[in-house]
């Protein structure tokens, strides 16, 4: 779960990290009111579109304004638009911070087998993307791994402080911020806490001007009070159904089980000249609505010209899956786009027979994956009028 910038900053502030004075606004009127609170004092504010995406600045999602009217105008221009694919519904209005120096600071989970531990990174060159830093000033990037059994030690914080490029008196503040950031990461099961830029202001304080926080989804049950970005997209709707879905730009709607098998099916379709319309892994939902929910998602995509169901039953039985497929296809409107299905694994012969014997005109059952994929590619190319439904009559257990 990604936190929006203001949510991330609220979290960091709870741990004692200074963030600019700010207010979340949903209308130009609220922005004007925020100007009166914050802008007048600071002589200017920054309006920042609250979307779960980086590079907002380049997309025009960040505006600096120096009077009330400009703030209102900018708010009108930003609210309601779409940036990097996300609708802009909220703006964070923040006091203008006078920046003397920009740093980069983050903690993330290093998943490498050699060091599957939290990793803290610092660079005296902040403000740029970490990738730009790594390219432009690789020597400025310093790393510390934290042993999860013992946590962060002060000497590690001081190491990062020494490589911050800051004078000693500011290093003390930085070391405190590192400690706070690490606690925020650890106590909230974060995958990433990134402060970029972390700035020294003209007044000499240390302020997190931008922040990114991502929480491990598997651990969200431990942090029910944590709020993240609520994105209304087909991906998040799929996630709410327990399905892993990514929309692509092809025309073959795909339902499969297991991320690996799904990717393999996509790759194989591409080899055959087909273009998958999506990645959809039902995971363990396969028997609990996964097929029907998946079909509904796919059919809502106007690009999809045919649907391919490729399932390999490991723990789950193909005869049960077949029943679910039959029910889901039966529930479709009379003249729907063709559905191609192939089943393998546990009880696959029975499963294929159930599909075949269902006698559904819109459902083609193929005994091998190669044939199923080829059929789907052909159907997508030719449109719904491709090969007849004759295959559906072919017994699944022939081989």
């Amino acid at each position: 779960m990604k936190l929006l910038e203001y949510q991330a900053k609220e979290l960091l502030a709870e741990y004692g990290i200074d963030v600019p004075r700010g207010s979340v606004c949903r209308s130009p009127e609220e922005v004007a009111a925020a100007w009166d609170q914050i802008g007048v004092l600071a002589g200017g504010v920054v309006l920042k579109a609250q979307i779960p995406s980086g590079r907002r600045g380049k997309a025009g999602g960040i505006r600096v304004v120096r009077d009330r009217a400009a703030a209102e105008t900018a708010a009108s221009e930003l609210l309601g638009t779409t940036l990097n694919g996300f609708p802009v519904g909220e703006l964070l209005v923040e006091e203008l911070v006078l920046i003397k120096r920009e740093l980069y600071l983050s903690v993330l989970t290093d998943t490498s087998p050699a060091h599957p531990w939290p990793l803290i990174m610092i660079s005296a060159q902040g403000g740029m993307d970490i990738e730009e830093i790594a390219a432009a000033a690789p020597d400025s990037l310093h790393r510390v791994h934290v042993d999860p059994a013992y946590g962060l030690h002060p000497f590690q914080g001081r190491f990062l402080g020494r490589h911050s490029g800051l004078p000693s008196d500011k290093q003390v503040m930085l070391v405190a911020a590192v400690g706070a950031m690490y606690r925020a990461y650890w106590e909230n099961d974060a995958e990433l806490v990134e402060i970029n830029p972390l700035v020294i202001t003209e007044q000499g304080s240390l302020v997190a001007v931008d922040a990114k926080v991502t929480i491990d989804n598997a651990a969200r049950y431990r942090h029910k009070d944590l709020k993240g970005a609520e994105i209304d997209s087909v991906e998040t709707r799929a996630a709410a159904m327990g399905l892993s879905y990514v929309e692509l730009d092809g025309d073959i709607g795909l339902i499969s089980n297991g991320a690996g098998l799904t990717m393999a099916t996509m790759d194989h379709l591409a080899l055959l000249g087909g273009r998958p319309a999506n990645f959809l892994d039902t995971g363990e939902r396969i028997l609990r609505g996964g097929i029907a929910d998946g079909l509904s998602l796919l059919l809502a995509n106007p690009q999809v010209r045919t649907v391919l169901i490729n399932v390999f039953g490991g723990g789950v039985r193909c005869d049960v899956i077949a029943q679910k497929i039959v029910e889901a296809v039966e529930a479709l409107p009379a003249a729907h786009i063709p559905v191609v299905a192939t089943l393998h694994g546990r009880n696959d012969e029975v499963g294929r027979r159930i599909l075949a014997e269902a006698g559904l005109p819109g459902l083609r059952v193929l005994p091998t994956i190669d044939e199923a994929l080829a059929t789907a590619v052909l159907l997508a190319k030719n449109g719904a009028g491709g090969p007849s439904g004759a295959d559906a009559g072919r017994p699944g257990g022939a081989r």
Partner: protein, 296 residues
């Protein structure tokens, strides 16, 4: 021969009284796996599928000689189950469930390093030594005993590869999935080393995925330490790059982790990379035939 498990491996199922646990313990037992005990706190003394259930792993170990645990408790309880297994001195834990918090896995892995307990997973489909034992979700009938060792990050796709092999008359020594979570127990490298040392394994099939750098590290290891032929496949040629860890994550992997970098690394290590399950099975078949007929 085989790696890690065989017909004599005495298995305890943690979470055996759950829907999942009782269903899969039955399937495993049907396959021939020596499921000697189950554990569910609060249900000690009951019997599931003819298997005695205990309150704790230590009792299961002492009473039934359990040496390997199949972890089938829900994600939030996996850490406790694995620490209990480490404490009981079990030789191996197979973490089949998904939804384990990464922080928990981090701590589990650190602890298991101390005790020398082997962990497969979390989020692994399991491990099977065909004809002998199966600990996990795999469909047993697609496997057959033989000379191919399969190690995979994927679950279901690895079943398909085994199926393709078996259909070609080529059996498997041991097949296992290392798990799909960000942090997992045994790595490709660990398993490659075991297959290399295993007399029953003649060819190794490695099935990787895009993201992270386990395949690149495996390629390096193969070049240095593996004499047996390895054939491979990388899933996700057409998948959009993962976004989970964002830019900071990408910097850690330093430009590696893509489909191209993985394929290149493997090919440079002399490992052919197939594009479909059928192709990778055919490669393994060809290697075996050429070795048998001596025309390598």
């Amino acid at each position: 021969m085989s790696i890690l498990v065989d017909r004599d491996t005495r298995v305890v199922v943690q979470g055996i009284t759950g829907t999942f646990g009782s269903y899969h313990s039955q399937l495993m037992r049907d396959y021939g796996t020596a499921i000697v005990a189950g554990v569910t706190p609060g249900k000690g003394g009951s019997i599931v599928n003819g298997i005695p259930v205990f309150e704790s792993l230590i009792e299961a170990r002492d009473e039934c000689g359990a040496e390997v645990a199949a972890v089938l408790v829900p994600g939030p309880f996996v850490k406790d189950a694995v620490f209990e297994a480490a404490d009981a001195g079990l030789r191996m834990v197979v973490c089949l469930v998904e939804g384990v918090p990464v922080k928990d896995t981090m701590l589990m892995k650190r602890r298991l390093m101390e005790t020398g307990t082997i962990m497969i997973g979390p989020n692994s489909p399991g491990i099977v030594t065909p004809g002998q034992t199966l600990i996990g979700f795999m469909p047993g009938h697609v496997y057959a005993p033989g000379p191919v060792g399969i190690v995979s990050r994927s679950g279901t796709f690895s079943y398909q590869v085994a199926d393709e092999l078996t259909k070609r008359g080529v059996g498997q020594s041991t097949c296992l999935g290392i798990g799909g979570d960000p942090i997992s127990g045994v790595s490709f490298i660990d398993i490659l080393g075991m297959f290399e040392a295993d007399a029953a394994t003649e060819v190794i099939v490695l099935i990787g995925e895009i993201g992270r750098t386990a395949e690149e590290e495996a390629a390096e290891y193969i070049r240095e330490h593996v004499g047996k032929p390895v054939v491979s496949m990388i899933l996700g040629a057409t998948a959009p790059p993962g976004k989970q860890m964002g830019h900071a994550g990408a910097i850690v992997t330093a430009g590696r982790g893509t489909y191209v970098s993985k394929v290149t690394a493997l090919e440079e290590a002399g490992v052919p990379v197939a594009r479909t399950a059928g192709e990778v099975a055919a490669m393994a078949y060809d290697v075996l035939r050429s070795r048998t007929t001596g025309d390598a």
